[in-house]
Structures are given as structure tokens and as C-alpha cells.
């Protein structure tokens, strides 16, 4: 694919029928439950393959394990990863563990995609609708959870979102005309929108009122429960984005919030978008159209109230 544009996985064309995809992602625990952490890490790692339209095939564990970590905790993390990769229809064939002070877990994932189904973030076209498939706020909510500020309903919603696979895309890519796709992770919604807009030579116009977020994310943002990554993201794209003064500050913070195992950001023609949204509404209730692509303006992202 080349290195100039920020794609989700590396892609190598094997022949006219097959593109090999490879990706790796690893991070420290975002939740207390080791089994759930394992699932989140796996859903997050495999998401890069989905973001390119592919199907995961093989995965390898990468595990940084503190010496004093009880064996059953380590086992639960790996079991979470195993179960999630299994759910994705792929296999864990091995891995590597090293000792480290802070635990970290993730996977290297290999997948395949037919060249005509290969999705990148550079194919968006003028007039395309931008769709987001998961609600925002995992960075803010996991920060709040560390401080014991989350109720059980919110924790459950957050976990459900982070452990759910973005696997719907492998079918969608065959049925619908998708122009560009990426997954929303560390750079936040606007950071990944920026990458897509920049790579496609367009300007993304986002309607902040349409952007889905998890319950309580706004209240927590307002109260200053915001991870450092969100501020780094704001700095990162400050010069490339124009946010209307009518957008509440907490909403802007949520749109910069770094996501773990976030949803897919999909760019497709309007006619297709309506059919597509109707088809995924049931399985992904938060999915919705959050904006569209306009011809290139002086900034890459415009956020309207």
C-alpha cells in the first residue's frame, strides 16, 4: 500500500485473487477483568483486518507478563483472546511472552482480502456519507472506571461495545459500494476522519449532533474525566480542523477521545448508505450517518453543531 498514507494494516498482493494483510496491536489493561481485557485486546487487534475489508485467518499472542502475576489471571487474559479470535473465525497458532513490569497484551493478526474488496482510507469520494458504527467515549469511560465512577449499566455498555467485533464489514464489502473505511482507535473520531479526508483529498463535514456516544460520556467529559490522549489528539489536528463555536466543548472532547476497539468509519455513496444503515441497524444500533465529504477546503475537517 505504500507508507505515505496511514492505513490500518500492511497489505501485500500475492496474486490477482489475494491480498495478504498483517497488523499488530498491544496495550495495557483497560478494564479490571482479565478475561474481558483479553477479549477487548483481541477485538481491537483483529479490527485492523476488518477495517481493510479482510477476513482474519491466523493470530499470534504477544504478552508482557509481570513476574508476580498469578497464573490464573494470565490464563484468563489469554483465554479472552483465544475466545474472541475464535469468534472471529481465526486461529491463534502461537505467540511470545516476555516479562515486564506492567502487563500488556495484544496480537499480531494475519488476514486475506480479495483485491476488489480491499478497503483503504484514501478512496472517499465527494458527496459520500460518513458512517460511524460504534458509540464514542471508551477512553473517557475507562478513565472513569479506574476511579470507580461508573455504574454497572455503563460499565456493561462500554464492555459490550469494546468486545464486539467489526466483522459485519466482510459481508458488507461484497454487497455495498464502500469507498473508504478505517477503524476509530487512538486518534479519536476526528483524528481518523482527518486521516481519511487527507488521504482522499477531501474535507469531512461532521455534524456533531449526529455523532453517537455512550451514556454519561458527556457528563464525565464536562467534569474533567478526560484521558491525556484526548488532549494530544486535539493538539495533533488543531490546525487541520475547524470546530464550530456552537459545538459544546464536552462534545468536542468526546470526538477527540482515544478509542479502544472503536467502531468503523465508513465512507459510501448516499444511496448505498441508506440501504446499508437499514441493514445493520439491528446488530449495530448506534450506527448512523455523522456527516459527508465535501470538496477540499482550507481545512480537512469541519465540525458543525
Amino acid at each position: 500500500m505504500g507508507f505515505d498514507k496511514a492505513d490500518d494494516a500492511s497489505a501485500y498482493m500475492i496474486d490477482e485473487e489475494k491480498v495478504l494483510l498483517q497488523t499488530v496491536d498491544i496495550f495495557p489493561p483497560v478494564v479490571d477483568d482479565p478475561y474481558i481485557f483479553g477479549q477487548i485486546a483481541a477485538a481491537n487487534a483483529v479490527s485492523d483486518i476488518y477495517a481493510m475489508g479482510g477476513k482474519p485467518l491466523l493470530a499470534m499472542n504477544i504478552f508482557c507478563c509481570p513476574e508476580d502475576m498469578p497464573e490464573e489471571i494470565a490464563g484468563e487474559i489469554l483465554r479472552g483472546g483465544y475466545d474472541k479470535i475464535n469468534e472471529a473465525g481465526a486461529m491463534i497458532t502461537g505467540g511470545h511472552t516476555i516479562k515486564d513490569k506492567e502487563p500488556k497484551y495484544g496480537l499480531a493478526v494475519t488476514g486475506f482480502v480479495h483485491p476488489r474488496n480491499l478497503l483503504t482510507n484514501r478512496g472517499a469520494k465527494e458527496g459520500d456519507i460518513i458512517i460511524l458504527t460504534k458509540p464514542l467515549g471508551t477512553g473517557i469511560l475507562t478513565t472513569a472506571a479506574k476511579a470507580g465512577l461508573l455504574g454497572s449499566a455503563e460499565t456493561e455498555e462500554m464492555i459490550k461495545s469494546m468486545t464486539s467485533l467489526n466483522d459485519f464489514i466482510t459481508e458488507a464489502v461484497c454487497e455495498y459500494d464502500i469507498n473508504a473505511c478505517t477503524d476509530v482507535t487512538g486518534f479519536g473520531l476526528l483524528g481518523h476522519c482527518y486521516e481519511m479526508a487527507e488521504a482522499s483529498g477531501l474535507t469531512a463535514v461532521i455534524k456533531s449532533k449526529k455523532v453517537p456516544y455512550m451514556k454519561n460520556a458527556l457528563e464525565l467529559a464536562k467534569a474533567g474525566i478526560i484521558p491525556a490522549g484526548a488532549y494530544a489528539n486535539i493538539e495533533h489536528i488543531k490546525c487541520r480542523s475547524k470546530i464550530s463555536p456552537h459545538v459544546p466543548e464536552e462534545m468536542s472532547d468526546v470526538m477527540h477521545d482515544p478509542q479502544t476497539s472503536g467502531g468503523l468509519l465508513i465512507s459510501m455513496p448516499q444511496k448505498e448508505a441508506e440501504k446499508f444503515l437499514a441493514s445493520i441497524k439491528k446488530s449495530l444500533p448506534y450506527s448512523c450517518a455523522i456527516g459527508s465529504f465535501s470538496p477540499k477546503k482550507d481545512v480537512d475537517i469541519i465540525v458543525e453543531a
Binding site: A147, L149, K222, A223, G224, I226, E250
Partner: protein, 202 residues
């Protein structure tokens, strides 16, 4: 009060500062931190808590000042501020809970005259209440058209915290008519009541 959260990362500084702020009836909280992210988050927290915010940086340490407003009159001397602070800490805050737009249960008209007189008398007391809570039909007293507005504004200007229950404002459809103080919720109402040394109910 000063709290030191150097070396702590978010959300710890915000949580600790919020807790410290809740424990003090008013005055200035100083937070020492080495994280610029914590400074930004503390600013948001201060705004949500209706507090004044400022900070200075000295040798890579941020001194963040969060001031719980309203407990001193403009122009009053700092010593007095600190003195009244001490008094409050010693005695514990006095909270007035106004649950109705009338005082007592007899004649309706008389009840309204009495509550107006009660609120006026509050403004004349030597020791002001730390908070005045308005809920149920008491919410009618802090909105446009209430004959006690001026007295409640006097209480607020003198440093009393004026809180009206949001659920009640919504219930009576007067949420957009609030004229004095701020909107609150049941957590805050319970919090003020449980921290009060005495609760006065007309």
C-alpha cells in the same frame, strides 16, 4: 486547603480535588500537580462545580487554585474571609430546606405571606445559612414572578449557596424561568443535608 497530587495521572487529580472541594463549605483549594493534562481537567471540573479557576506554573509545578464562590462579599478583607471560614469549619454549615411555596399548613394565602416573611428574616440573621435548598413547590420561589426573588438574591450575594431541585423545576415546567442560584439534583441535596450541622425547615 492544599492537596498535592504530583506524580498522579488522570483521573486521580480530578477525583481528589473534587473530594477535597466537597469537604470544604467554601474558600480556595490549592492543587499541586506536575501534569498539564490535570490542569486542563481541573479547569473543566471547576467550571462544572461553579468554582473560579486559576493557576500558575513554578519550576514545572502547577499551582491550581479552585475557589468556591459566593461566601464572601466583594471588597471584604481576606482576614474576614478566613475568619468566617474557620467559624464554618468549627460549627458546621447550617442548611435551610424549603419544600413548599407556603409556610405551614393552614390558610393558603397566609402560608405565602409567612414564607415570604421567613425568607426575609433569613437575610437578617447574624449567621447566614451555608445553603438554601428549594424543592417540590418550593421551586416556585426561585423563579421569575416570585415575591421572594430579591431576598433570595440578597442571601446569595451574602454568600449563601442557593440550590433549586431540577426535577421539580421540570415537573412544574418552570426550568427556563430560574432567576437566582443554580439547579441541583438529589445527590447534592442529600449531600448538603448530610453534611449540615443543623437543617432548618420552615
Amino acid at each position: 486547603m492544599i492537596i498535592d497530587v504530583k506524580g498522579e495521572v488522570c483521573p486521580v487529580p480530578v477525583i481528589k480535588a473534587k473530594k477535597a472541594l466537597k469537604e470544604m463549605p467554601f474558600g480556595t483549594l490549592e492543587v499541586l500537580t506536575d501534569s498539564d493534562v490535570a490542569v486542563k481537567n481541573l479547569e473543566k471540573m471547576a467550571r462544572t462545580e461553579n468554582c473560579l479557576f486559576s493557576f500558575k506554573e513554578e519550576e514545572n509545578i502547577f499551582h491550581v487554585f479552585i475557589k468556591k464562590e459566593g461566601k464572601e462579599n466583594a471588597g471584604q478583607l481576606k482576614e474576614e474571609d478566613e475568619k468566617s471560614h474557620e467559624e464554618h469549619v468549627v460549627k458546621g454549615p447550617k442548611v435551610v430546606a424549603i419544600a413548599s411555596d407556603r409556610m405551614g399548613s393552614g390558610d393558603r394565602k397566609l402560608g405565602k405571606i409567612l414564607i415570604k416573611g421567613f425568607i426575609f428574616a433569613l437575610t437578617q440573621m447574624d449567621e447566614l445559612p451555608a445553603s438554601v435548598l428549594f424543592y417540590n413547590s418550593g421551586a416556585h420561589l426561585t423563579v421569575e414572578g416570585s415575591s421572594s426573588i430579591d431576598d433570595i438574591k440578597t442571601l446569595e450575594a451574602a454568600g449563601a449557596e442557593i440550590l433549586t431541585c431540577g426535577t421539580c423545576l421540570d415537573h412544574y415546567g418552570i426550568a427556563d424561568k430560574l432567576e437566582v442560584g443554580s439547579v441541583t439534583n438529589m445527590y447534592e441535596i442529600v449531600d448538603r443535608m448530610s453534611k449540615a450541622q443543623s437543617i432548618i425547615r420552615p
